[in-house]
């Protein structure tokens, strides 16, 4: 499967914490400009998958390619510079830095200062609230605003791929639907999104492709509409109770 | 295997006991010096290795013992057993006091604070008349003919050996007792220890007291051995040296501490060419051991601080 047309190609990776196996022989493919969602119960290895893509956990086996290049030996900074951005789990913004500084840090891998200002303006245009609050400490904003800032920060490097780890965790339904709209708009600009979601139903509606993890292995994969109607999936996640109720928010 | 172990131990014990008969005065001198450091390393190991307290003020406790002997001997005609006891008692009290005063200070800060103990000790003895100020105290000799009258190098050797063996036995006994398990529980996780009803403060204070007593014994023998005590014998480098012994020997291990004392005292003595570099070589060893196997060297230390 020499897919020169895929943007991110994660192949047969395993991740261990000491002797504990968090991921075993897992593969993902994200095409350019597509939305791929990663589903799975608590502690199934979703965050570990994200960490593997950014290189903040070592791989025991497997390889990761981005735009055809092997990146698994690269530092996190180099991967970000190549065009992968993160919206980390738990909307981690730099609480004691201003909103503007947070956004500028999102572009810290860029060399061109003028471009940074242009991109900053674009983010401010997209999120006018952030422009109003650019001098405020990020930690003093509401949860929804911090999430917006985390999105804005990821957009600042004009990445080709944004990886999001449970952006909707702990958010109100209104904010969750705002997040999904945002993901759609990001895709419309040609940026691919790899998103970890607990809200399987909503995620499958906007995604092109989906993977479902169970205890460190891919249990199910396929085009989103196919996964949504899969009997296994129906039984496990898409019954009458929404996923968020059956799967408590992950600790990691 | 077990028989071989016993054979090695018995042969070793015989060699050590016969050392004064078979060795040169120089070797005996070095052996005595090693033995003087055994109670110090063992005490440091109880504090740092088994109880998990980073402390680097052991030379001060050592000095308290030595000065106690120096002051007592210059004022009253008192025998060796009593000075040993008094020195151990004085150093134990200081250890206890230090631990109780600093109980609320966090791990790595305490490290620095205990280094300060060396400096405070030096300030006190350098600025007092009872301690002979910068020149120290002289002519420290036991009364002739008294019990344990240490007058010959061989007798010094046996006294040091006795003190060192006593400290090894006490240390092993503590570690095998419930108190020893309590110490290690506090080291491994103070919160869990607290839920088990173990009180961190008295445990730490107790162990500082025991380690102080051991250091006091060594200090007493040292004072007789040298016949004098001075501030230079108890500076922070001595504390560093003792700390180094315990790290190199492996934190938590009694035999390792003894080995550490032998390596850091005897090896530089006999290998004159490396003597000048011994502290630094020890430093390199420490870094290498930490970087290669921090968990191995630190035994079962699991907690983050």
């Amino acid at each position: 499967m020499a897919s020169s047309d895929s943007l991110l190609e994660v192949r047969n990776i395993s991740v261990y914490y000491g002797s504990f196996r968090a991921l075993e022989d897992v593969s993902y493919t994200v095409g350019p400009g597509s939305v791929v969602c990663l589903l799975g119960g608590n502690a199934s290895g979703k965050s570990s998958s994200m960490k593997a893509i950014f290189g903040t956990v070592p791989l025991r086996t497997g390889s990761i390619r981005f735009e055809g290049q092997r990146i698994d030996g690269w530092t996190t900074a180099k991967r970000v510079a190549a065009g992968i951005a993160a919206v980390p789990e738990g909307r981690r913004v730099f609480a004691n830095l201003s909103v503007r500084e947070n956004l500028e840090l999102g572009a810290c891998t860029l060399r061109d200062g003028r471009a940074v200002r242009t991109y900053l303006d674009a983010v401010f245009d997209q999120f006018p609230q952030l422009r109003e609050r650019q001098g405020q400490m990020a930690g003093s904003m509401s949860g929804g605003e911090q999430q917006m800032l985390a999105f804005g920060r990821a957009l600042m490097s004009r990445p080709k791929l944004i990886c999001m780890d449970e952006p909707s965790m702990g958010m109100s339904p209104a904010l969750v639907s705002r997040n999904f709209k945002l993901i759609k708009s990001i895709r419309e600009r040609g940026t691919a999104v790899f998103v970890v979601e607990q809200n399987a139903r909503a995620a499958l509606k906007i995604a092109d492709y989906a993977y479902v993890l169970r205890t460190g292995s891919v249990m199910l994969r396929g085009p989103a509409e196919q996964v949504a109607t899969d009997p296994q999936m129906q039984a496990a996640y898409l019954g009458h109770t929404p996923l968020a109720a059956t799967v408590p928010p992950a600790a990691h | 295997m077990i028989i071989a172990g016993w054979v090695v131990m018995i042969v070793g014990a015989v060699v050590v006991l016969l050392l004064p008969q078979v060795s040169s005065p120089y070797v005996l001198f070095v052996a005595t010096e090693v033995l003087l450091y055994v109670p110090l390393a063992i005490g440091q190991n109880l504090i740092t290795g088994n109880t998990g307290v980073l402390s680097m003020g052991h030379a001060a406790l050592y000095g308290v013992g030595a000065y106690t002997t120096g002051v007592l001997v210059s004022h009253i005609a008192i025998g060796v057993p009593l000075t040993l006891l008094a020195s151990a008692g004085a150093a134990a009290l200081v250890g206890l006091g230090v631990s109780l005063t600093t109980q609320r200070i966090r791990g790595d800060y305490l490290f620095i604070v205990t280094i300060g103990l060396n400096f405070i000790f030096l300030d006190v003895v350098n600025n007092s008349t009872w301690s002979g100020a910068a020149t120290g105290l002289f002519a420290i000799a036991p009364p002739a003919g008294g019990l344990l009258a240490v007058t010959t190098p061989a007798r010094f050797f046996y006294l040091s050996l006795g003190v060192a063996a006593l400290c090894v036995l006490i240390s092993l006994a503590i570690l095998r007792s419930r108190f020893g398990r309590a110490m290690e529980a506090v080291r491994d996780d103070p919160l869990v220890a607290a839920t088990m009803g173990l009180k961190e403060v008295p445990i730490k204070a107790g162990i500082f007291g025991v380690a102080g007593a051991m250091a006091g014994l060594s200090g007493c023998v040292l004072a007789y051995f040298l016949g004098s005590v001075g501030p230079q014998d108890f500076n922070s480098n001595i504390s560093l040296l003792i700390f180094e012994m315990v790290i190199i020997g492996g934190l938590g291990s009694v035999s390792g501490s003894v080995l550490g004392a032998i390596v850091l005292i005897a090896v530089p003595e006999f290998l004159r060419s490396v003597q000048e570099y011994s502290l630094g070589i020890g430093g390199v060893l420490i870094v290498v051991m930490m970087v290669l196997r921090p968990e191995g060297v630190l035994g079962s230390w699991r907690t983050a601080r």
Partner: protein
């Protein structure tokens, strides 16, 4: 009154020297929650390098430049070799490793330059002024001005440059800083270099002020700077200056009014009392502690 003013001036000068050394501690502590126990020995060692250069007839400022490059190089090497592999290990391990580094530096200095106190010839102004019976030396003025200039430069560096922004981001949240693409290792390395360079400036000022360089100034430097850091709030760069000055004043007033023989005792009693009352330092934030 005259004595008091005199002691305040002396204390402020000594305190400024401590402050410049304390900055190196606080920057590292703020980032990684780790006390770089070898910082004082690095300061001693690099000051000796300056002295060695001067002895070889290298012009003074050239010698300082060499010393500064050496200090940065040493600081970064020590971090790379002895601390970085232990960044995620048990908290005790890097502290012990730092002790090992301190021993190596101290022993090396002892072997190369000997245990004796050496005079430190400098072209820095040595004159003095008298104002109403109070003596102010030119060196004291140099020290205070240097410290003030560095304080301003650091303030600008930390709050108004992209380097400072990254530094504060790492201090806030190291894993996230890594995820946004900051080269954490490179930045930590640069912080060790800056700390070592400021340490060297502190060492040169110290050596010129007291006209002496000696091996044990490493450990006493570590202790004074750490106490200053605790007084000012461990991890706080601005606190280094407040803490350094406070310590300098306490020592100097203690020497003037209590006894000059108990300088170290005063330092440690202050340290212990502060740590007992405020476990995170005088002005420290309670959030400064990290697991």
């Amino acid at each position: 009154m005259i004595t008091f003013v005199q002691q305040v001036i002396n204390g402020a000068a000594a305190g400024s020297v401590y402050a410049l050394l304390a900055v190196g501690y606080n920057m590292v502590y703020g980032l990684l929650g780790f006390i770089n126990f070898a910082h004082g020995d690095l300061y001693m060692f690099s000051t000796f390098i300056v002295l060695a250069m001067v002895t070889l007839h290298v012009p003074f400022w050239g010698a300082v430049a060499v010393g500064m490059v050496a200090a940065c190089f040493l600081g970064m090497s020590v971090e790379r070799i002895a601390y970085r592999p232990l960044r995620t290990a048990n908290r005790i391990a890097p502290t012990v490793s730092a002790v090992g580094v301190a021993l190596v530096l101290e022993n090396a200095a002892q072997v190369i330059w000997g245990p004796a106190t050496r005079p430190f010839p400098t072209p820095l102004p040595q004159g003095l002024f008298r104002v109403d019976g109070v003596v102010i030396t030119a060196m004291q003025i140099v020290i205070l001005l240097t410290a003030a200039a560095i304080a301003v430069a650091l303030r600008v560096g930390v709050y108004h440059t992209s380097w400072g922004r990254k530094l504060r981001a790492i201090r806030d949240d190291l894993p996230t800083a890594e995820l946004v693409g900051i080269s954490v290792n490179r930045l930590v390395s640069s912080v060790y270099a800056v700390g070592a360079a400021l340490g060297l400036i502190s060492g040169v000022l110290f050596a010129a002020y007291y006209n002496s360089v000696y091996v044990t100034m490493g450990l006493t430097g570590t202790l004074n700077a750490f106490t200053a850091a605790v007084l000012g709030g461990i991890g706080s760069i601005g606190g280094s200056f407040a803490g350094g000055l406070a310590l300098g004043l306490l020592q100097s007033l203690g020497a003037g009014y209590i006894s000059s023989g108990y300088q170290n005792t005063i330092t440690f009693v202050v340290l212990i009392v502060v740590l007992l009352l405020r476990p995170n330092g005088m002005f420290g934030k309670l959030t400064a502690a990290r697991a």
